[in-house]
């Protein structure tokens, strides 16, 4: 299936069988494309004895570890075509990943994110409260994954308002004004999990302040490691967010700088879902074979979007388990899964986890 054909479908419409076929063809084509265009990638695949004729399923396709993007500049288009270089959120002392995007790749990422998010909130652009600072305006050609996430999300909103100032203090007056201005209509919020926890929830609780959103939707992303250290799980997070912000429907999503656009969103039943554009394959760490449903292993992520860099099949350093296929009570087709978090000894690298307290 071509990308254009994917765009014509509801993003959660393909069942397991139809999707396996569509993805296998598409990802195999992408693999061959990157093999031709990216010499470093070719070297890796040659080492892995890649043979297109032997690929029978998505799980047969060769994958590369995410950290290769830290060690090598992997690119499948000429340098002149690159319009944006994204860097992963590494804390100081850690190497950062570099992801090279051309104009077409940027456009497809935005388009896909739009398809996925609007399937949750509709096509109406809602007033948007960004639970972050306006840091994205600082550097334009080399921005971090965090900035890219904010910009990518802002097409779903209007009257974008930043809740935090440059010092990460909540601008209470501004937020009050925002909720007052839109008290009669649904509003949208976006932010990074740990930032929301640290600079919104905890601060408001300490100040004893509460906002009274009537009808809000919050999308958040960025890793749970720091919250786990504080023994905060998703239910607790949602409860405390609602405690300080009001009536908010909270959606967590999972994504990475290597595969922006084709994100995984948690449904109302607490399951992370693969859309038509992406898939997860859980692999056993001892031999990288595919784990059974319910079995814990390393998460490999697949996406049909990466064309300017060979990031379509990546082994992450996160652990997860597939919970089921096609039968989530929310009605979305495809695999749904659970994330346990980063494997031990892996680097810390979630967008919000790398925020260092000063």
């Amino acid at each position: 299936m071509t990308l254009e054909e994917f765009f014509n479908l509801n993003p959660y419409s393909l069942d397991c069988q139809a999707k396996e076929k569509a993805l296998k063809d598409n990802l195999l084509d992408l693999t061959c494309y990157h093999y031709e265009k990216c010499p470093e990638y070719k070297k890796i695949l040659d080492k892995l004895c890649f043979q297109p004729s032997k690929i029978k399923s998505v799980s047969d396709l060769p994958f590369i570890p995410a950290r290769l993007f830290k060690n090598y500049e992997l690119r499948s288009v000429e340098k002149e075509k690159i319009v944006k270089t994204l860097t992963s959120s590494g804390t100081s002392g850690q190497a950062v990943s570099k992801i090279f995007l051309d104009a077409n790749n940027v456009k497809n990422q935005t388009k896909t994110l739009n398809e996925i998010v609007s399937s949750f909130i509709g096509k109406q652009r809602l007033p948007l409260l960004l639970l972050d600072t306006e840091l994205i305006k600082k550097d334009r050609t080399m921005y971090s994954a965090r900035g890219a996430g904010i910009i990518g999300f802002s097409i779903f909103g209007r009257d974008s308002t930043y809740a935090l100032d440059n010092e990460m203090n909540i601008d209470v007056d501004k937020v009050v004004q925002f909720f007052e201005k839109y008290h009669n209509e649904p509003v949208l919020m976006f932010g990074y999990t740990y930032m929301i926890w640290q600079f919104i929830v905890r601060v408001l609780e300490e100040k004893g302040l509460k906002f009274n959103a009537q009808n809000a939707v919050l999308f958040h992303i960025g890793g749970w490691k720091k919250l786990k250290d504080q023994a905060v799980d998703a239910l607790e997070f949602n409860r405390r967010v609602q405690g300080v912000l009001g009536n908010v429907k909270v959606y967590n999503y999972y994504g990475m700088v290597e595969q922006l656009g084709s994100v995984f969103v948690e449904c109302e039943h607490g399951h992370m879902h693969c859309s038509n554009y992406s898939d997860v394959i859980i692999r056993r760490s001892k031999d990288f074979s595919e784990a059974a449903i319910g079995e814990r292993g390393l998460i490999e992520v697949a996406s049909v979007l990466p064309t300017s860099y060979p990031g379509h099949l990546i082994l992450t350093e996160d652990e997860g388990a597939v919970l089921g296929v096609d039968d989530c009570p929310c009605g979305r087709k495809g695999k749904y899964f659970k994330i346990f978090g980063r494997i031990k000894n892996a680097e810390i690298r979630g967008c919000s986890d790398t925020y260092e307290k000063r």
């Binding site: 104009a103 456009k107 935005t110 096509k123 652009r125 994205i136 050609t141 910009i151 097409i155 974008s160």
Partner: protein, 78 residues
């Protein structure tokens, strides 16, 4: 101002370029028209024509010419 003038003016304002440059412009062709600049352009267009564009159309607006086509959906005639 005619709609044509308003339309060109939105590009000129958003990207600080001259009129001739605006008329042949495409997404990412100049550093100013990146994803950040794109939202600035959309804000200019929405204000100039008093419209609110759908996310699909925001994504599809990838060149000066394409934008004119899209604005027709919002009853902006050129």
């Amino acid at each position: 101002m005619t709609n044509e003038e308003k339309y060109i003016n939105a590009f000129v304002q958003a990207f600080e370029i001259d009129t001739d440059k605006a008329k042949t412009l495409e997404f990412q062709a100049i550093p100013a028209w990146d994803s950040v600049g794109h939202m600035g352009l959309i804000a200019q267009l929405e204000e100039a024509f008093d419209i609110m564009m759908e996310p699909d159309d925001i994504v599809d607006l990838s060149s000066f010419e394409k934008g004119k086509e899209i604005l027709k959906k919002y009853n902006v005639e050129f």
